[in-house]
Amino acid sequence: MTDFVFTALPLIFLALIYLFVWYVAKGIASYLGLGDSVRTTRLGSRLVFVRSESQSGMHFTVADSVVLGKSPDADVPIDDPYASEFHLRISRRQGKLSASDLGSDNGTYLNGRRLRTPVDLARGDALQVGRTVLEVR
């Protein structure tokens, strides 16, 4: 009987730890959205102003193609003295968003790297225009 207890108790303890791990893993997976389809998770459809003097929290969805810039004639005006009149274009091709700089003075930065050519965007990418930062959601 004692031998059985000495054998069973460590296994019960291990089982309790694994039960704990399993529930935490399930919760974290749910928090991370791992149950969603990969396509929905990886591809973004809208852009959110996450850092801006006056536009933080504003967002827009790209249906076809939009031009962002300081000009009031831009599809999405950016309130930033460092932005050019027509700064960058974001377009949707085959479901994917892509960004291209329109020859701006101060450049557009994708995740800290300056855009030289049109680049596909993924969910979580950060675009910086002057002091303004937009994130793909």
Partner: protein
């Protein structure tokens, strides 16, 4: 999360700690002492206090980060009680101190962690000082008697205690570097500055960390801990700027520093121990016993209280995973690895969900730090990497590393709260 569910998590975590202590007593003496109840109550009260603080100051957080952390601390407490029953109450007090520090972080930054950005240079400098300054006297003294890796003996008269300031320094350095790189990423580059010039400053920060921490390598011979710092600084720069070249620069600098470190007798000794611990004499005793302990643990271990972890030198701190591996076996070791994986996954998830760049980089960097510290410590005791005196965060004995671990977790919890609801 509902109150009932949180209460269940608190009770479950405390039950693991209490049951573990009971099993240790049962394995050693065949009887259960009152220590199990004391640990259950004390640990449960600590967690309940933390949960109350989270509900008060960070109610929007994903509390899933807390539970793998709590279980790691509980397992560490159980194993420390197993190896050193006199040290366990001290560690329990350090758990209390860590939880109080975490609550202080939640309260102090209730208006936002962005305040840390304004002191990022000071944090980075303070972190570097904590990492290297305490060890500089060893360079002057040569092979002085108490040169035990990253541990320091601090004494006044007849009273002395040992501390490892490395963990706290690493947390401060991480937050400081995250702030510095975030500021640079958010501020437009100076007019006329080319992209190469902008990228150069990220590389310079990695090089600065490399240069300033080289004395640590010479003073302690801890190649793994030193390399971890350089890789950490490179990954933080990468997280902020997305520049993969900086990671290659960091790895290149680690290679150069490792070769240069061969001129140090301490580094040579570390490598000798790594390559052949069984013929390295006293210096290789820790690694040798660690490998034997892991090997004798088999699949489910000898059972808590029924192994021989006292044969491993400094088993409560540097080699605690080997002690756990002997008594809980491969199954227990894998569970610990999974818990660290869950903490890292939750931290990275918080970083991905964050909108603010500083929060994003800080969350990612703190997750990298915890992950790298675990990989360094576990890799060292399994001989995958040169052996290190870096204790596993949250699990190993030691007050300062434990408090530093709780500080990192509290910052992640706070960031998670700030970014909640914006997914």
């Amino acid at each position: 999360m509902r109150l009932v569910t949180e209460a269940a998590w608190v009770a479950g975590s405390a039950a693991v700690a209490g049951l573990g202590v009971a099993l240790v007593d049962f394995g050693k003496t065949g009887q259960v002492s009152g220590a199990a109840g004391v640990v259950f109550l004390a640990f449960g009260c600590c967690l309940a206090g933390l949960v109350a603080a989270v509900r008060r100051w960070a109610p929007g957080t994903s509390s899933f980060l807390l539970w793998p952390t709590a279980l790691l601390v509980a397992l560490g407490l159980v194993e420390i009680y197993r190896i050193d029953p006199m040290g366990a109450p001290i560690q329990m007090w350090w758990v209390v101190a860590g939880v109080v520090a975490a609550i202080w972080v939640l309260a102090a930054f209730r208006l936002g962690v962005e305040r840390l950005m304004s002191v990022s240079y000071w944090l980075a400098a303070g972190g570097l000082c904590l990492i290297i300054l305490p060890f500089l006297p060893r360079l002057v003294d040569g092979n002085s008697g108490d040169a035990a890796g990253l541990w320091l003996t601090i004494g006044w008269g007849n009273v002395s205690f040992i501390a490892q300031p490395f963990g706290l320094g690493a947390v401060l350095l991480t937050v400081g570097l995250a702030g510095i790189h975030s500021r640079w990423a958010l501020d437009p580059p100076p007019a006329g500055a080319g992209s190469r010039l902008v990228s150069l400053r990220n590389h310079l920060v990695v090089a600065a960390v490399w240069v300033t921490t080289l004395p640590l390598l010479w003073a302690t011979g801890d190649l793994t801990a030193w390399a971890m710092l350089v890789v950490l600084s490179a990954t933080i720069a990468y997280a902020a700027a997305g520049d993969t070249r900086v990671v290659w620069t960091g790895l290149g600098l680690v290679g150069i520093g490792s070769v240069a470190g061969l001129t140090s007798s301490r580094v040579s000794q570390t490598l000798d121990v790594w390559l052949d611990p069984f013929s390295a004499g006293e210096a290789g005793a820790g690694l040798k016993e660690s490998l034997l302990a892991l090997g004798s643990g088999h699949l489910s271990g000898s059972g808590l209280g029924m192994g021989d972890p006292e044969l491993i030198p400094r088993a409560t701190s540097d080699w605690i995973l080997a002690a756990l591996g002997e008594e809980l076996g491969l199954a227990g070791t894998v569970a610990v690895i999974m818990l660290y994986g869950l903490v890292t996954a939750a931290g990275v998830g918080i970083a991905i969900a964050s909108r603010d760049l500083f929060c994003k980089v800080t969350a990612a960097s703190l997750s990298f730090l915890l992950c790298l510290m675990f990989l360094a410590g576990a890799g060292g005791l399994e001989r995958l990497l040169p052996p290190t005196n870096l204790g596993l965060p949250l699990l190993a004995y030691g007050g300062v590393p434990l408090v530093a671990g709780w500080l990192a977790i509290a910052l992640l919890v706070r960031i998670s709260h700030e970014e909640k609801g914006h997914l």
